[in-house]
């Protein structure tokens, strides 16, 4: 009897093995149901080659199926532990779906998270049991940690472990539901010593929030969401013991790489993250993967730069590779990605494409500083997609290292890598200066001499008289005179205001012309200033809304200011207020062109010149505005401050009113239209 059973078992095993063997080599031969995107330095999203193809799914392990699984771990040898939460057990299997064992039946209550070390010690975070369980490699319960008793833990703090990892020395990190103090750090010593909280998320102390909270009455403030830090949603630990966390709704803090001290090492300003991340894991090339609940899979460099985003929610068509509710993510040594879906009760496997393999190779070589070697895979990546931002950035840096500045600057510009751009630009400028300094000097001397000669000739023979006459003729034109008044106004604002009020030195026409010039300068500067100072992306133009915005703001400011002044004994008339405001922008009109030119020749090192110029210009404009409001209306300093405050308040009220009218009228129009159409259709049918 026994022999027979054994024989049967052996042949079955052989069958399974051969099946495994045959399923392995045959590739997927299919299109991916999703697109793959990457993000460039401007945060704009670009489509790219499919990074990972769906390879298959696992939903049966031996004869066992899953019920609301929430976590899993894949070890280096391919052993997979799945936390089958709905069935209160852990399934041990391999990536072919053969069942190797079941752990934790009868012990687990409502487990939510699990971590398995390479020596197969299995840590389970059991929320409803309020307990952390530890099983050895044979599935025996060897340890359990309940709520820390230390006072530091917080006296009223509940203990609801949901996610867990452990480092090589056995220190356990536990995320507890609704524990906002941070990740609970437990030491295995003495049955679990509480070591303290780790990697606490910061609160949002923005100035608006502070103002808002101070305005609100107590009852409303009580209802407001408390200003407490968010609890991380999930975490992962890498070989070196560095912990990665993901937290929903944290904006730029969504993904964090925490060093041993618990501080975040990702310093990116414009990272692209998901709103509802579900899990995080690390890859083999200093890369990080995040999966969102909807099934979007993100791959990042360890600096937090997005390489790929792909995957997505199932549209009901049951295409492989789309998830319904993703819970956890893992990778294996082949760079395959595994995503656990609790709703579909399955593990989806993705396999990297040739493109991704090239990128990973480049990533690895580049991060190890082997720049020259990394050029080949980088070229391969760029050959397949020459808009791939990371590759352009790496290429720019590599070429810089090779002192090929001309090419480097191109790549840096493509990837908006301002540092490399600035460095390369410095080198190029340096070379240019070396080569052309003599010429420039000569040209300057020639120009100087020429000017002197012409001056001398003019003195004797008056050769410049016709030009002078022309100049005088132009200057004597009324409108030119009025516009030229701006120079005087800049330097003598009090007298200038007197001129506007009493002497009629300016007209609405001249102010309008200055406004147009100002707008042109603004637009030119916005779109064509030096790369290092550009705020908008290359090739992006939206002039109409720029002009619209300026005009709208101007109308609002002038009219609200006028309204406030008239009811507060201001003496200024509408025209005077408008003109004085426009003339107050004199410094902008004069200085902006200089700053514009400057922005084309400075590097990050000399950035100070431009930013200081900007600041000085703005302060000057501000002072002029203040003085002109004061002088035109004949106010005291205190009155002026009050008027400015009132003007801002009026602007806010006007905006609010406009919004309310818009909402109400669109509702009414919609309502009338609905009735009309319904009647038409009902009669028509």
């Amino acid at each position: 009897m026994n022999k027979k059973v054994r024989k049967l078992f052996v042949s079955l095993l052989a069958l399974l093995l051969t099946m495994g063997f045959f399923t392995e080599p045959v590739s997927a031969l299919a299109d991916s149901p999703y697109k793959t995107y990457t993000v460039d330095g401007y945060g704009s999203v670009i489509e790219t080659q499919t990074a990972y193809l769906p390879y298959g799914t696992l939903n049966k392990f031996g004869d066992e199926t899953l019920k609301a699984p929430t976590d899993f771990t894949i070890l280096d040898d391919g052993t997979m532990y799945i936390l089958d939460s709905g069935n209160k057990r852990i399934i041990v299997t391999d990536i072919e779906g053969n069942l190797h064992g079941i752990i934790g039946e009868g012990t687990l209550v409502n487990p939510k998270g699990m971590y398995v070390t390479e020596d197969r010690t299995c840590y389970v975070a059991d929320r409803d049991a309020r307990m952390v369980w530890v099983f050895d490699k044979d599935g025996n319960l060897i340890q359990s940690y309940d709520r820390p008793t230390e006072a530091m833990y917080g006296e009223t703090q509940d203990y609801l472990p949901v996610k867990i990892v452990a480092n090589k020395s056995g220190t356990i990190y536990v995320i507890c539901e609704s524990n906002t103090n941070g990740i609970v750090q437990l030491s295995p010593v003495d049955n679990g010593t509480f070591l303290g909280y780790f990697g606490t998320n910061a609160t949002d102390p923005s100035i608006w929030r502070i103002i808002w909270r101070s305005i609100l009455p107590d009852s409303a403030r009580a209802k407001m969401l408390g200003n407490i830090p968010a609890t991380p949603d999930n975490m992962a630990i890498d070989e070196k013991g560095i912990i990665y966390t993901v937290t929903r709704g944290e904006g730029q803090g969504t993904l964090k790489r925490l060093n041993i001290a618990g501080s975040n090492m990702i310093e990116l300003e414009n990272g692209a993250y998901d709103d509802v991340p579900a899990a995080v894991t690390t890859g083999n090339h200093d890369n990080v993967y995040v999966v969102s609940q909807q099934g979007y899979i993100y791959e990042y460099t360890n600096e937090g730069e997005l390489l790929f985003v792909f995957g997505g929610s199932d549209d009901g068509m049951q295409r492989i590779g789309l998830s319904t509710k993703a819970e956890a993510i893992q990778t294996d040594h082949n760079d395959r990605i595994y995503v656990l879906d609790s709703d579909k009760k399955q593990v989806i496997i993705y396999t990297p494409t040739e493109f991704t393999n090239h990128l990973h190779e480049a990533l690895y070589l580049f991060s190890k500083g082997r720049y020259t070697e990394s050029k080949e895979p980088l070229n391969e990546v760029l050959r397949m997609n020459n808009l791939f931002d990371y590759a352009n950035m790496a290429m720019g840096k590599t070429l810089f290292k090779e002192e090929n500045y001309e090419s480097s600057i191109e790549y840096a510009r493509l990837s908006k890598d301002k540092e490399t751009y600035s460095d390369s630009f410095w080198e190029i400028r340096n070379v240019w200066l070396k080569q052309n300094l003599a010429t420039v000097f000569i040209l300057c001397i020639v120009a100087f001499v020429l000017a002197k000669v012409i001056g001398a000739l003019d003195k004797r023979k008056h050769i410049l008289d016709p030009f002078r006459a022309l100049w005088d003729k132009i200057r004597s034109k009324k409108i030119i005179k009025q516009m030229g008044y701006i120079f005087f106004f800049m330097k003598h604002p009090i007298d200038g205001c007197y001129g506007i009020r009493k002497e009629g030195r300016v007209s609405v026409l001249s102010a309008n012309l200055l406004l147009v010039i100002g707008m042109i300068e603004y637009i030119i500067n916005k779109y064509f200033c030096g790369f290092l100072f550009k705020m908008v992306r290359e090739g992006e133009y939206d002039i109409l809304s720029d002009i619209g915005f300026i005009v709208l703001v101007l109308v609002l400011v002038v009219s609200c200011n006028y309204l406030m002044c008239t009811i507060n004994d201001g003496e200024g008339r509408f025209k005077q207020i408008y003109c004085s405001l426009i003339y107050s922008f004199g410094p902008y009109l004069i200085l902006q062109p200089i700053l514009f030119v400057l922005s084309h020749v400075v590097t990050i090192n000399e950035e100070f010149f431009v930013s200081f110029g900007n600041l000085a210009m703005l302060v000057w404009v501000g002072v002029l505005i203040f003085i002109s409001i004061k002088e035109i209306n004949n106010y005291s300093v205190k009155e002026t401050i009050v008027i400015i405050g009132l003007t801002i308040f009026t602007i806010l009220i006007v905006c609010l009113l406009a919004f309310i009218i818009y909402v109400l009228s669109s509702q009414v129009i919609d309502f009338v239209e609905s009735i009309f159409r319904e009647v038409v259709y009902k009669i028509g049918n």
Binding site: I46, T356, N385, L387
Partner: protein, 740 residues
Amino acid sequence: MATNMKKKLICFLLVFALGLVPALAQAGVLTANAAKEPVATVTDWKETHKKIAENSKFNLYVCEDDLSLVVEDKATGHYMESSPSYDDGANNKTWQAYLASAVVITYIQGNTDTKQADLVKDNVQKKINYTDNGFEAELYWTKYKFGVTLKVELTDDGLVATIPDESIIEHSDTYIGTLAIYPCMGVSYLDQKEGYMFIPDGNGALIYLEDNEKRFNTGYSSMIYGDDIGFTESSVANLLWGRYEMLNDQNLTLAPVYGIAHTDDDMAYLAIVEDGAERATIEAQPNGVNVQYNRAYAKFLLRKRYTQPTSNNSTSGSFHLVEADRSHSDLTMRFLFLNGEDANYCGMANAYREYLLDRGELVMQEDNSYRTRIDFLGTEREDFLIGTKTVTMTTVEDIYEIYEDLAGVGVTDLFSLYKGWQKGGLYDLPITAYKADKKIGSTKELTQLIKDAESKNISFFLYNDALRINPDEQNATFNVIKKVNKKVFEESTYKEVYDTFRYLTPTRSNTLLNRFAKSYTKQGVGNVALAGITNTLFTYTYSNVAYSRFQAADSYVKAVEELDASTKLVMEEPFAYLWKNAEAFIDMPVYMSNYLYEDESVPFLSIVLKGVMPVYADYVNFEANKEEFFLKLIETGSYPSFYITKESAADLINTNSSDIYSSQYDVYKDEILQYTSELKAVNEAVAGAVITGHQILDNGVRIVTYSNGTQIYLNYSSAAQTVDGVSIDTMSYKVVGQDE
């Protein structure tokens, strides 16, 4: 001895216990339990069905109660049935009726449109007349007051089942919504039969007849000739970060076919939706979807409910309406039965090719020779200050240069589409006259290029999307289609410069194409690559008149025929009804959509078309797995395609073509050379031949056999393999000639 006795005793007790259970059940003791356990029964179909016709290969039997059929292979006695004789006892009455009925209808009554009417559970007046080769049955559902006449005929190659348009009567306001004829033809239970269902997904896909253990809850359902945009609700797409379209479209169903093969019985059929395909879906439900039977069928749509919003703001109100008129067409299913060596997907494809050639719906093209397709992008537009500005990618002069450069390395067999050649760039649509964008050169220069290319034996075509109109560039108030709910249809591009397009009415497309063709052919040239209308079909309204997909298809066929008379036409992914006018097939899909229930991708369409007309695959540029794609090109006999620009693709980043992330000629030159040299050799070995055999082996090797005896072995596995004494490296191929 003692042990022996013990064994006997145990056996006896066991037998006794087993015998007791049914006895007790009968006595009512265990009825509660017994009711739960379904009891399987097998009916002998020979008792319920009678023979009514035969041809040289098959006998046809019918059951008068439900008009179900059995087709029997005369030689072997194997059969396929339209109503399962094996009943697993687990189905409710509705499903039992469904499985047996020859005609299954879902009717629309008030607000419901999912209720079923059939020949078994409903009261149906039947009038059956037997004809020479089959029967005619007038069917009338007394309760719902509608009826149809079903004509069944056994012909030489198979079986034709028709419901003529005029026989469909609706006497009350209960309407026929959908109708399926023999939805269970070739049905099988779980894995009782070996074989597969073939579905026209992508190039072709198979669903094996395996026990799925209830893993799937939906099966394949795809509208023939694409989804009907006339009915799409303005739903919120699933967008990444609320902005970016994440899902790829599913493959279009280009041909109205499906099939089932029972490989253990050497019996199969290919079903062709002969009439009514313009408004029908192909369905394939593997076991586990509602019932444990494997079914594939076509479902005709006659009438549909739709949502009529009452305001532009979709949230604020809407009501449901039913189409005023049903679509009018005969509904014909042709089942081509295959046996012996032909009983597989390759036999199906061959049968389909023969069928199309016989009827003139496919024409053997004279020029089938190998060419590498190199498409050029002329100009695109990006936002600039106020308005847009041109982004020039490839000029006429650049194309001369590239051709010369390629000729220099021996690549002369070329086929090109020129996209974005027209005034205003790629998306200044529609094209109303033959006028080149100034930035690529003058119209005269372009004409000269087309003529020069021809003299160098390069096929050069101008790309023309005759469907779309760009409301930002042209007046799109008139001549654009509206959906059934009389809202203008807008296609979202999710791109920066132009965010929506509209569709021209078929009549307008026709007019504009004629106008374009006139000014084009006047110059002595006439190569057009037609797109848009070749693979789009919709129900629409215009000027308060409703038009069906049948009418749209007719208009397009007429437009294409008119155009074909004066020009040389190649088409982008054309639907089957346009194949006869196409001199080449552009953008053939080589993969399947990767549905959970799909088991294998097969080159069905390629087998049909290889050797009949040149077939060009999707662009190589955007493939991530180049090695695999290369093998796929060889397996399907498709010619490679490249999307090429002179300038770097980085220039396109702010245009609507921002999804073209790699296209520069300098980058692709070597690859073009490599693809050309290898693929030309392979395709010349099979020149003039069609594919007659296709095998998928377990070790990842596939064998394609051509009519001239040449065999191509492809190894998709990660290890070297040896098959029939032919050894093939990993991710590689080998061509074995007839003599070898």
